[in-house]
Amino acid sequence: MTQRKRAARWVGIPCAILFLTVPFISATASTPGPVGTTEPKVDAIVIDAAAVFGTLEQPGVVFYHEKHTTALEKMAKDCTSCHMEVEGKLSFKFARTADPKSKTAMAEMYHTSCVACHEKVVRSYPKVPQAAECKRCHVGPAVEGATVTPKPSLDLNLHGRHVVAEAKRLQVKEEESCKACHHTYDEAQKKLVYAKGEEGNCVYCHKQEPMTQAGRTVPTTRAASHESCVNCHLSTRKVQPESGPVLCGGCHTAEAQAGWKKTPETPRLLRGQADAILLVAGTPAANGTVDVNWASAGPGPVAFDHKAHEGFVGNCVTCHHPTKTGGSLAACGAACHTTTGSADGNFITTAQAAHQLGVTTSCVGCHTTQANARKECAGCHAPMKQTVLSQNSCVQCHEAGFPTSGTQTLSKAEREATAAKILAAKDRNPKTVPLENVPEKLTLNYMNEEGDEWQAAEFPHRKIYLKLVEEAAKSPMANRFHGDALTMCSGCHHNAKPSLNPPKCASCHSKPFQERTANQPGLKGAFHNQCIGCHQEMQVNPKATDCQGCHKPKNS
């Protein structure tokens, strides 16, 4: 009896263990591997329109728009197979103009329309998903899709091309062609009207999310741009072969955007702005007049070259940025970023709006970003990336020679004239140090210790200086802001007053890891970090690990 009991136990325990572990083993075995990531497709649209009514039973459908347009084209069908046409304009909602009022109705609408067509084409396309093959379509938004595509931007050049094209299409003068696209909402007439002189960027009204304004819903940027741009491109296509893109890939890929035609000259977009304007702290009036109290006007006014910036920036919206609920082309300090801040300007004052680092909407923020963006400038500017503004920086923009007390009312014309005069007097030429002050070659001969594997590097000092000067000369911003000739020296000869006889590197950098100079790298570390850091940032040879690019081996 006991024997049998014992035997039963010996069999039972392993069985129990096996029984308990098998589900885990099989679970791990059946866990699917990572889903093969497909190339992100710009035409992938995630359809989860019914999600507004609540949680969905199935994940969204990933719909490849271009796949469908190609198939329909082969069947000699056009956009109207899926998109309804109202008053000559397509609705870019699928097979409807207005949304159903419930989740089931929305799902039903999609299912009926999609499946009906899929059933019809199953002969020519035997692989198309059919009814009840839920998971063939409902794969969820995990598939890389439309969200990653670059959004097209209408820069001044492309805008200029549209001005010409619209004038031709509407057969009006170019300055009257604005009405083709720009509109405002007229409360009295309850419709969209064109208002001359009030043109602004689309995103001032059309936001990422639908916005309710005066009891009506303003379409999103996406809805508005698709409806306006694509419909116009489609209708133009009917009368002339040359027209804008109508399919996803025509606008939403970097390659397509790079391939857009450009006119050699970018026309200025005139909305009453000055070529140059004196920015001065004070109380602005609507007509551009500013009441200045010089005693509290800060470090002097700034002569701002608006015209040049239009060319550098290429659009209006980078500086005249949209806000959460609006946006305008008005001057920064006029209504939003007032000298003391306002709720409309999110309490960002004029000074902060001009100086904030880390954003592209402020003057200094954008200038810093620009300086860091070019690899030719990165050798000096990358290490400076995070530095705060120095006191010397103020005079780069703020003009001296203005009164420091008393009040004055400056009209717009006066401000324009003063700014133009100041800007005209600016030296925009690259400034260089006389070459006899720039040593041609330096032998960094600190390497005479016994164990050293390499010979001292020969440093082509003048060549490097000239190259940096050459690259900087290409940038109008550098020419304007590099100050004096010694600025180009202080990229390497840092932390010392710029001079023609800067201290030797070894005067600060000596033995590493000394307690009193813990923040200063040793000489070896300083040289290698400076040279290699610059080479890496500027992407020039010799590469970081190419020792022989600079040093000869000692035994050679």
Binding site: F513, A518, N519, K543, A544, T545
Partner: protein, 364 residues
């Protein structure tokens, strides 16, 4: 054993077990945060260029065998490497699109924990945490159990598997012999970029945080090793999350010895206290059993005696009674016999002699 006694023992054992770790922790009430003024190194991953000069220097200063591929062959960086008994440090390469040339490097070596797991796992004390910060190994003490290799959270100690006779555990020594001579560790000295910041641990930690703070966005705001596993002498700052340069982000901040101190601290208590406790319990139990047995025996004896006495008394009684009865009977019989004899004699005498003779005889 009786059920009652067994339950008593189990209860006592449970009490003992629950008391032991608490007692052990109470005993270790000092919080060790590393030797004061011990050395430390912060590896700055933004500076490393992957030139392998540190590996070469390590091989040189430690007299390690020359590897098959020379140190200037950077193709080895393609593979994710580990340290072994002949390589105390390796550079590994990780993808980082934001970095120059799209690569970020990590130098891997012993981190020299403030409270090393290897040392706590070693039952022959072959590992020592030295006051200079280094964790060193004494081969003469090692028994080759390799518990240290299992214990190390960074998988650092490695074994000389190819040594048949006296295989040793090998790992980076923080160049302990060089530190004693006032020299820098080999790798630190060789690095052309000063990617390793050497100094007092507290000092380099401060400098590391200064670097992080004065370069917003350049580094992940964390010094790996400041608190990991209770703190390490070698630390890392990185431009990308530490997991992306091969470091384990899930180690926690508890020093490895603290994880086992409770259980290990309980050993002396179990070994020392349990025999006494259990012996006592056993003693009490047996004593009680003995007392019960004795009492019972006494009771039984008393009862037995009582019964015996009662029986004896009864017997005596009976015997007396019987004796008395027998006596009575005998007396009666004698009387009867005497009577009969007398009667007969009388009759005889009367019949033979006369009544005087008979009177005479009776008077005899």
């Amino acid at each position: 054993m009786k059920r009652r006694s067994f339950l008593g023992l189990v209860g006592a054992a449970g009490l003992g077990a629950s008391l032991a770790p608490a007692a052990a922790q109470a005993a270790g009430n000092t919080h060790f945060t590393g030797y004061k003024d011990s050395f430390g190194v912060v590896f700055d991953a933004t500076r490393c260029i992957g030139c392998r000069k540190c590996e070469a220097a390590c091989q040189k200063v430690n007299d390690l065998p020359t590897p098959k591929k020379p140190f200037d062959d950077l193709s080895v960086l393609q593979d994710h490497r580990r340290t072994d008994a002949k390589t105390y440090t390796v550079i590994n390469q990780f993808a980082n699109p934001a970095a120059p040339e799209g690569k970020t490097f990590h130098k891997f070596q012993c981190n020299h924990c403030n409270e090393p797991a290897c040392a706590s796992s070693c039952f022959v004390k072959a590992f020592t945490k030295n006051p200079d910060g280094s964790v060193t190994y004494d081969a003469s003490l090692c028994v080759g159990c390799r518990y240290c290799m299992v214990a190390c959270p960074f998988y650092v100690p490695t074994y000389e598997y190819d040594s048949a006779l006296v295989p040793k555990v090998q790992k980076c020594t923080f160049c302990h012999p060089r530190l004693e001579q006032g020299l820098l560790p080999g790798c630190v000295e060789a690095c052309p970029k000063e990617a390793m910041l050497f100094g007092k641990r507290e000092e380099v930690l401060r400098l590391a945080w200064e670097r992080i703070r004065s370069n917003p966005g350049k580094y992940v705001e964390h010094v790996y090793g400041e608190h990991e596993m209770g703190g390490t002498a070698w630390m890392v700052i990185s431009p990308i999350p530490f997991a992306q340069i091969g470091l384990n982000e899930g180690l926690g901040v508890t020093p490895a010895p603290a994880l086992t101190a409770g259980a290990l601290g309980a050993v002396p208590i179990v070994v020392g206290l349990w025999p006494v406790l259990l012996g006592g319990l056993y003693g009490i139990n047996t004593m009680r059993e003995r007392a019960v047995k004795k009492e019972k025996a006494e009771a039984v004896a008393a009862a037995k005696q009582e019964t015996q006495e009662a029986a004896n008394a009864k017997l005596q009684d009976e015997l007396k009674k019987a004796e008395a009865a027998a006596q009575k009977k005998m007396d009666a019989e004698i009387k009867k016999a005497v009577d009969e004899a007398v009667k007969a004699k009388v009759a005889e005498m009367e019949a033979a002699k006369g009544p005087s003779e008979g009177d005479q005889k009776e008077a005899d």
